[in-house]
């Protein structure tokens, strides 16, 4: 029941990844990265429910917080041209 959902979300991740490679400007790539991070967190939760392993969901929580910090730093870099 849950594994096809994870596969579907993985397909969505690949579609977003195409935008991350194509993106004409820097903010385009950053938008792609942000979308990809959110879908990856949801996929980790779904995989954790599918295999009944809590550790996958913990990985998802830490990934969400770290990717938030990453996005803020890249946005600051795009804004000012330096850190």
């Amino acid at each position: 029941m849950w594994l096809p959902v994870a596969v579907f979300l993985a397909v969505c991740i690949f579609i977003v990844l195409v935008r991350l490679f194509l993106g004409p400007t820097q903010p385009d790539r950053l938008v792609g990265l942000d979308t990809l991070n959110t879908i990856v967190v949801v996929t980790m939760v779904i995989l954790g429910v599918a295999f009944k392993e809590v550790i996958y969901i913990d990985v998802g929580i830490v990934y969400a917080l770290l990717s938030f910090v990453t996005t803020l730093f890249i946005a600051k870099y795009i804004e000012k041209g330096k850190f």
């Binding site: 942000d34 949801v42 969901i57």
Partner: protein, 119 residues
């Protein structure tokens, strides 16, 4: 049985909105509209997917009681949802501000009132 039906409906809504986010990143013309598609749709879709997880564990609770291992899993899933709900709009705001200040214009824009507000 009714809980299973509700779970499937929530999964369908969540998958549909995540797919809309992925497609919208390719269909929209510039950064700001892509931000609109990519951020809001994934937040809404992940809300519904994790609500589906919670409803499915409610059906487990009805069968086995609250002390089943599903309880810890559901609690952590809700914490992950809270993390997404707190961080996703904030990072979208940061990306939009950074894109405007780095000089990226909206496609087919005529008037840019935010330009006057620049310090």
């Amino acid at each position: 049985m009714i809980l299973n039906v509700i779970t499937y409906i929530c999964i369908a809504i969540g998958c549909f909105f995540n797919m809309l986010a992925a497609v919208g990143l390719h269909r929209f013309p510039d950064v700001y509209t892509r931000l609109h598609a990519g951020t809001k749709c994934t937040t809404f879709g992940s809300i519904f997917l994790i609500v589906a997880v919670v409803i499915q564990s409610v059906s487990v609770w009805v069968a086995e009681g609250l002390s089943s291992p599903q309880s810890i899993l559901t609690l952590h899933a809700v914490i992950a949802l809270v993390a997404i709900l707190l961080t996703n709009p904030t990072s979208a705001h940061a990306i939009g501000r950074a894109a405007h200040r780095s000089g990226v214009k909206p496609a087919r824009a005529v008037v840019d009132d935010l330009e006057k507000e620049k310090p």
